[in-house]
C-alpha cells in the first residue's frame, strides 16, 4: 500500500490526479474501520491531515467557508454560535475521540444515509466546494449524494470546503438512536428558520437512501408563516400546522427495516421529530431563547 502525505493543497490535488484510485484519509474514523474490517483494501492512501488549508475556516462576504478537514470538536467550539444546528448534530457524533478526529469532509464523502452532519447542512442550503487540477465547482449539498455511500465526486476530485451562511434564525437537530451515545442514528431530522428570506430549511437522515430535504414540508410551513404574517409577529403555532408539517416530513421518507429499527418506526419517528424540533425553533424564534432536548 502506498501512503501519500502532501503538505500543500495543490500537492494533494496533484496526487489525486495522478493516483485516481487513491483513497483520501482525513480523520480516518470511517476509512480505518473499513480497512480494519477488510471491507476496503486501498492500493494507495492519500493522507490529507498534513494539508493546513483544509483545517481553516473563514467568513467571506457573509458566508462561512469551512475547510473539509475541520473536526466536529472545532465545529462545536468555534462555530457553535454561528451554526447552532450543525453544532447540535456534531455533539451527537460518536464519542469525544471521534469528535476530535472525524471531519465534516469525511462525513460528506462517506455519504452514509446516517451521516449526522448532512441534515443540518441540507437545512442551511450548504454547498460543497469540490476541487481538482481541472478546477473548482460548487455542488449544493442536496445534489451531492447520489445513492447509499455514493456521491458526485470524480476520481480526481477532493472536497475542499463547505460553504454555508451563518444562522439568521433558530436551528435544531434531533436524533434517535438505540442507545444514548456512540450510536448510529435510527433517524435524524434538522430544521432551520431563515426569517430574512421567509424560508424554512429541512434535512432528513437515515430515512432514505440519501439524506434529503423535506421540500414540501418546508414550503408549506414557510407559506403558512408568511400568509399569517408570523415571521415578524410570531404567535404560538396552531396545532394543525405543526401536525401537517410532521405529516409532510414523514411523507418524504423512504426508509428500510434494519437491526436498528423498522421502516414504520422511522416514518413515525420522523413526524415526531419534525413536530418536536419545530416546537423548539418556533419557541426560540418567539422568545429568543434556545431550547435543548
Amino acid at each position: 500500500m502506498d501512503f501519500l502525505r502532501p503538505t500543500h493543497w495543490r500537492d494533494a490535488l496533484d496526487a489525486k490526479a495522478h493516483h485516481p484510485d487513491a483513497t483520501p484519509i482525513a480523520g480516518g474514523t470511517d476509512v480505518m474501520v473499513e480497512i480494519n474490517f477488510g471491507r476496503r483494501r486501498p492500493s494507495t492512501l492519500l493522507d490529507l491531515t498534513g494539508v493546513p488549508e483544509l483545517t481553516d475556516w473563514s467568513l467571506d462576504d457573509g458566508r462561512l467557508r469551512i475547510g473539509a478537514g475541520v473536526p466536529y470538536a472545532r465545529l462545536i467550539d468555534e462555530l457553535g454560535d454561528r451554526l447552532p444546528g450543525l453544532a447540535i448534530a456534531s455533539r451527537t457524533v460518536g464519542s469525544p475521540q471521534i469528535r476530535n478526529r472525524g471531519t465534516l469532509g469525511g462525513n460528506l464523502a462517506s455519504a452514509s444515509p446516517a451521516g449526522d452532519g448532512h441534515p443540518p447542512l441540507l437545512a442551511s442550503d450548504a454547498e460543497v466546494e469540490v476541487q481538482s487540477l481541472r478546477g473548482t465547482r460548487t455542488v449544493p449539498v442536496g445534489e451531492f449524494f447520489t445513492g447509499v455511500k455514493r456521491h458526485v465526486l470524480a476520481d480526481d476530485e477532493l472536497i475542499a470546503a463547505v460553504h454555508v451562511a451563518p444562522a439568521t434564525g433558530a436551528q435544531q437537530f434531533s436524533k434517535i438512536g438505540t442507545r444514548n451515545a456512540m450510536v448510529i442514528a435510527v433517524c435524524t431530522f434538522a430544521v432551520a428558520l431563515h426569517p430574512e428570506q421567509q424560508r424554512v430549511g429541512t434535512g432528513l437522515g437515515s430515512a432514505a437512501p440519501t439524506p434529503r430535504p423535506a421540500t414540501e414540508a418546508a414550503e408549506f410551513l414557510a407559506a403558512e408563516l408568511t400568509d399569517t404574517d408570523q415571521w415578524n409577529r410570531p404567535r404560538p403555532l396552531p396545532e394543525s400546522v405543526v401536525r401537517r408539517f410532521g405529516e409532510l416530513v414523514a411523507a418524504t421518507t423512504a426508509p428500510i427495516d434494519d437491526v436498528r429499527g423498522t421502516a414504520n418506526y422511522r416514518t413515525h419517528a420522523m413526524a415526531v421529530m419534525a413536530r418536536r424540533t419545530l416546537g423548539w425553533v418556533w419557541n426560540e424564534h418567539r422568545t429568543g431563547r434556545q431550547q435543548c432536548a
Binding site: F37, I176, R179, N180, I184, V259, Y265, H268
Partner: protein
Amino acid sequence: MTSQVTPYAIGTALQRLDGRSKVTGTAPYAFERVVDNATYLHPVQATIALGQITAIDTAEAEALDGVITILTHVNAPRLASTEDRELAVLQTDRVSFRGQLIGAVIADTPETARQAAGLVRISYAQWPHEAELSSERSDLYTPEAVNPSFPADTDEGDVDTAMSAAPVTLDTTYTTPLEYNNPMEPHTTVALWNDHELTLYDSTQGAHTVRTTVAPVIGLDPERIHVSAPHVGGGFGSKGIPHAHIVLAALAARTVEGRPVKFALTRQQMFSLAGHRTPTIQRVRLAADTDGRLSALAHDVVEWTSKVKEFAEQTAVPSRNVYAAPNRRTSHRLAALDVPVPSWMRAPGECPGMFGPEVAVDEMALKCGIDPVEFRARNEPDVDPETGKPFSSRHLVECLREGADRFGWHHRDPTPASRTERGWLVGTGVASSIYPTLRAVSTATIRVEAADHYRVDIGATDIGTGTWTALTQIAADALEVPVGHVDLRIGETAQPEASVAGGSTGNATWGTAIVEAARALQDTHGRPPEIGAEASGTTPNNPETERFAMFAHGAQFAEVRVHADTGEIRVPRMLGVFAAGRIINPRTAHSQFIGGMTMGLSMALHEVGVLDTRFGHVVNHDFAEYHIPTNADVGDIDATWIDEDDPYVNPMGAKGIGEIGIVGAAAAIANAAHHATGIRLRELPITPDALLR
C-alpha cells in the same frame, strides 16, 4: 454450625490492593507478558456453517515474508484426546459451525500472521445446516442434566389440574436473545513449549482449570503444564470453561518449540470462539387464588446447544426455589444446532430464567389486583420448595420491603400509563433475585516468613472482582493479624490447586481453604506460630448442606421513562437490595452489585446477537453494532444490602455476590416499562419500536 471467623478486616471497605498497579499499567495481563523471541498466531476460521474442507491452499500465505508455519488439520499434531469436541482443534476436515478454527498462521509479527491467514484458500463441500431455534422444532430433546448437574425436568403435584381449578391463571411465553459475555480484555494466551513443559500465560477464570482441561487433550502430565493468570480483565463466565483457542495456542507452541506463541482473539473472533448465552423461549404458567397465592408454577424452556458439544443452560432451575406453589413443573428442551458452543455467561440459568417468571409474576399481581411487592411476599415459602429443607437464611421479603421504602415505591399509582412528565411516561417496576450459595474445593498454604509476614498461596483468580483484596482480608482475620501482614499470592498453577472463579463460589471456596490453613497453622504451631512454620488447608465438605438450602436473594427496583411519541426508553434510576450473608468488602461488593445491575440494564435494552440463519454467523459481531450501554444510558444505579447472619454457609458467613446483581434486573425494567406505558414486553431487548402503540 460452621465455626465463624471473627470479622475485623472483613467488612471494611479496603481499597483494591491491585488498584494502583492496574491504573498505572504495571499489572501484567496475559498478552502483555514480556517474552523473548515471540511469534504471533492468527487463526483461520471456517466461512461455512456445516460441511467438509475439500482443499487447502497455503502456498500464497507461506510465501509471505515472516510466516513461520501454517497449521491445518492436514499437518497439525494429533491430540491425545478428542473427546471434548470443542477443544479438538485441527483434527478433522469437518466444519461444524461458522467461525470454527480450521487453521493457524504463526508468524514473526501479528500483522504478517493476520495477512497470511487472509491468504489461505479453503475449498469446502457445503452441507445444509440448521441454525434456527423455535419451540416448534420436531427434534427438541431432553438433556440428561442441565448445567452443571441439575435434573432437566421436575414435576410436583399436578399443574394442569391446578390451572383449571384456579380463578386466576396465566399462560404466556417470554424470550431472551442470543447474548455475548464480551469482557473488556479479549481471550488471550501466550504459550511456550519447551522440553515437554508447556507454559501458558492465559486470560482465564481459573489457572488450574486450564491445566486440568488442557492436559488430557494434548497428552501432557498436568504437572508439566504451568498456567499463570494474576490479572484478568473480566470474564463473565466466558473464561471459565477453557475454549478451543487455548488448545490451538498449545499446538502452535509445540510446533515452534522454544519460541513463545502469542494469540489474542479479536472482538469479532470472540463471537464464535468464546461462548455465548443461548437464546431462550420460556413458557410460564401460573395459577393463583384471588388473594394472589400461587397454586401452580410451571416453567418450560426451549433453548439451543451446539451439535459440537452440549451445554444446557439451567434456565428453569430458579423456578424450583423462589416461590411457594404446591404444584410445580419445570422442564428444559434443547435444539442441537450447527452453531458455536454456548457456555457460561454471568448467572447462567438464573439470569435468563428470572426474566420470564418475574415478568409473569408482575402480570399475575396485576390480574389479582395486588401490589407486586406484596404479591411476592404472599408467596414466600417457609422452606425450600424443591427440597423441603429450611433455608440457611433467606431475606427476600426483607429486601423487597426495604427496597420499596428506599425507592419510594409506596407513592406509586399502580395503574399503568398513569404518570406523564413533559411528554415522558414514567413507571416503576420490581423483580426478585436469587442465586445459589455454592462452594467448590480448593487448597491454601500459609507460611510464616517473618513475625509480620504471612505468605498465603492459593491458585485462585481475580477477574476484576476484587479477589486480591477480599482474600487478603479473610486471611488477616483467619490469622488474627492486620491485613498488612498478609502477603497473598494467587493466579498460578504453582500455587495449591484452586477452583475456577465461577458460580459466585470464589470467596466462599478459597476463603474457607485459607481459614482451614490458618487454623491448621495455629493448631500445629501455636499462636503466634514460629517463623518458618507452614500449614495447608482444604475446603471441606459442608455438612450443613444436608440440613439447609442455601441461596442469596435480592430485590431489584427500576424507574423507566418512555417517550410518549417516539418510544425512546431511559432508565434514570435502579436500586438493588441484596441479602447475601456477610459482605467481605463493601467497596468491591458494591461494584459487583451495580456492575451486575448495569449488565442487566444492558440485557434489558441493548444486547442481542443478530444471527443470520442463512449463513450461521452473527451479523453484529463487534461493539459498533452489538450494543452495551454507554455512560449516557446509565443513570443513578445503587445497591445496598441487608446484614445477614448465616453461620451455616462457611466460616466467613459470606454468600457469593458476583452474579446475583444481574438476576432480575431486566425483568424489573420490563415491568417498569409496562407500568409506564401499559405495554407488556415479553421479548428482550426492549426497543423504541416495541413501545409505540
